[in-house]
């Protein structure tokens, strides 16, 4: 291979590398809850008493800054139980004062496939939490945040730096207190408009996935029991138009599984607010299945009561 060709390649790819470096730098400058969580892990690991895990529903439902014991909410969008468990196994040894772990079991949590080995948030966990969820040896690329999901971060960069339309307002615990701009706000919380609005819900029962996920979930509970940790399992509130659309088979299997969990584990408490339509109304929701900060304030109070009863 002639040297001239090597030079040709280097000259060609140099602007690509420089361009990428700029994008990575801009990404790291974006406001981010993960960054706040990482800072808490670095600075207050020895004081943390409660760890919250789960998907976006849990992320939006618990404002950790509002809770009395020092709490870290590491729930995040699309994060399934297998990612929760990997985080748990890596973090529990680093949190000497940890007493309680809060987990999420949504309506179809057990019938949705786990995160794959290339789940893009693995890079986020590695970069900010120093947790390797790749289940393999990592190298420099695995810490590159922009590269983990370029399409997503490109939009974030555009919103934040160019149109400056980035309303995120992360508090000290990494909770976004300005996260109101969802479907419900767009519809002005008008219940008649909300009722006719379509939304995404899993109505495909999958027994094979259920078997796999529940087995895994029980393994996670066994681990937590062995660590002498209290567990709170939350069913996050869903808007009233969501509830009747739930598939009965999925629902029945989830509830049967929860019964097994309650019978088998003495360290588990269930906080079931999924069908609570009295304390949660349209103004508490971001969309049919996610709370807004207003709803989170209410739900966090409920969680506080459960935590108080445990300690």
């Amino acid at each position: 291979m002639p040297r001239s060709f090597v030079k040709y390649l280097l000259v060609f790819f140099l602007p690509v590398v420089v361009g990428y470096t700029v994008m990575e730098y801009l990404t790291l400058g974006l406001p981010s809850g993960y960054k706040k969580h990482g800072d808490i892990l670095k600075q207050k690991a020895s004081q943390l008493q409660v760890l919250v895990l789960g998907s976006s529903q849990m992320k939006d439902a618990v404002n950790a800054a509002q809770l009395e014991p020092l709490t870290l909410n590491l729930a995040s969008g699309d994060q399934h139980h297998n990612s929760d468990f990997k985080l748990l196994k890596a973090l529990v040894p680093k949190l000497p004062n940890l007493q309680t772990v809060v987990l999420e079991v949504s309506y179809s949590h057990f019938e949705l496939p786990h995160n794959g080995p290339n789940f893009w948030k693995n890079a986020v966990y590695l970069k900010y939490y120093d947790v390797n969820c790749f289940e393999r040896a990592t190298y420099f690329k695995d810490r590159l945040i922009y590269l983990s999901f370029p399409a997503f971060y490109s939009e974030k960069i555009y919103d934040h730096y160019i149109v400056q339309n980035d309303p995120a307002g992360y508090n000290s615990s990494g909770f976004d207190t300005l996260n109101y701009a969802g479907v419900f706000k767009k519809l002005n919380y008008d219940e008649s408009k909300i009722a006719s609005r379509r939304f995404k819900i899993n109505t495909e029962p999958d027994l094979a996935v259920f078997k796999n996920n529940t087995g895994y979930f029980l393994e996670m509970l066994d681990y937590l029991k062995a660590q002498n940790l209290q567990v709170v399992i939350c069913h996050i509130p869903m808007y009233k138009s969501y509830l009747p659309v739930r598939h009965p088979e999925i629902l029945h299997r989830r509830d049967s599984m929860m019964q097994v969990v309650s019978d088998r584990y003495s360290n588990v408490v269930v906080l079931d607010k999924e069908t609570d339509t009295l304390q949660f109304s349209a103004t508490h929701y971001w969309n049919q299945s996610h709370l807004n900060p207003n709803g989170a304030a209410t739900f966090t109070i409920m969680l506080q009561k459960v935590l108080d009863s445990l300690h």
């Binding site: 060609f12 290339n118 690329k141 999901f149 370029p150 399409a151 895994y216 029980l218």
Partner: protein, 474 residues
Amino acid sequence: MLFNSFDFGFFLVIVYALYWSIGTHRRKAQNLLLLVSSYVFYGLWDWRFLFLLLGSSLIDYFAGQLLQRNTQKSYRKLILWSSLLWNLGVLVLFKYFNFFTEGFTELFAVSEGSYDFWSVVIPVGLSFYTFQTMSYTIDVYRNRIAPTKNILDFLCFVSFFPQLVAGPIERASHLLPQFENKRSFDLQTTKEGLRQILWGLFKKILVADKLGIAVTMVFSAPSEYGSIMLVFAAVLFCFQVYCDFSGYTDIAIGTAKLFGFSLSKNFNLPYLAKSMTDFWQRWHITLTQWFTDYVYLPLVRSSARVTITIRTMGMVITMFLVGLWHGSNWTFIAFGVFNGLILALERIPLFPGKGTLRKQLQSAPWLFSLGYVFIMFTVSAVFFRSASISEAGLILQRILSFTPDTRITSLIGVKLLYLVFLLIAEMLTRKKDFPLQQFEFHFKQPIRWALYYVAIILLIRYAEPKEAFIYFQF
């Protein structure tokens, strides 16, 4: 390791640098490097299946050696059948066992808390490399090729990483000699390889993956959509699967070029076909040729008289097997049988004195033939994409019942612009292997580089979290 991942780019740079730094006079060392790299490439997905790859390679290598040493017909037949039994047995065990015996999963089901290994793990690329090794043994048996004595060359032939997991399915007569001969660095071939990789990435990331989002949305809840959207999604799926697979093939061929190898062409603008017979000569060409040579022709020739009925039956059976090759699901079988029936129909002289339907389609107005092929492939694609036969039936039923749509706009977006660009580029350059071929003859360097940079920026900008190529599962 997916071709559209940073990991593959990193892997490729290292292997490429080592390969050419070894020196072209050390062919064996280069082959050894390719073999190790290929096994690392495959092992990074799941190292356990390296033993299967190695086992299949060794069995067919020794089958070839034994076939050469023995002239007795019955003994040669026994060797051939032993090899075929192994290869087909592996395929059946890993791909079709669950399909034929539902109880298999139960039998090997592990206890609560662990995972159904047997029901979910199918070795990546199994159908591709198994077919490649089978063709080698059959060709040696038929005395079409001489078996290689060099085990290293043969292992490289089976496991060559650019085409290991999704083809093209190479014949030993084409690829094996390339491992046996010296490769020399050629700047022009290298540039063409890089450009073909870029084109393949464009097809995969900017077209296939974007179309895939819309297609998945509709096919995951077909009962919520009306006729127009279902037709639209089915058409988009045709382009998605084309861009996905031909994009993969372009990357594979381009990567092989970087190492001085030439792989077979696998696609030839199938959407310009004038009949379904023509379509299957342009779509997944290496698979069609494999089934023609090793299934269809032996089937037809085994009959005492080659009549239209025999050929028709042979065609349907062959296409049934093509469908089955894609996976253990009735939808793939329906896809194969549907195509088989259409191909058979095209061979029958429906109107006396006017020749076969295929001949009439060839001479029909271009738009008519194009429309015919597109409709036929779209119908079969509905089976291909659906999760079950009943779901495919539901989709076709809703399409034919002209169910009105309320959500027409949700699928139409910028993503279609890339598809339109791709189709125009491919049609304008249809005499080339890929649109960027010999690019320097048409554009000066600053313009070329500017276009490359735009393409790279778009590829990075629109990259989603890594999606697997559709054909990896086969």
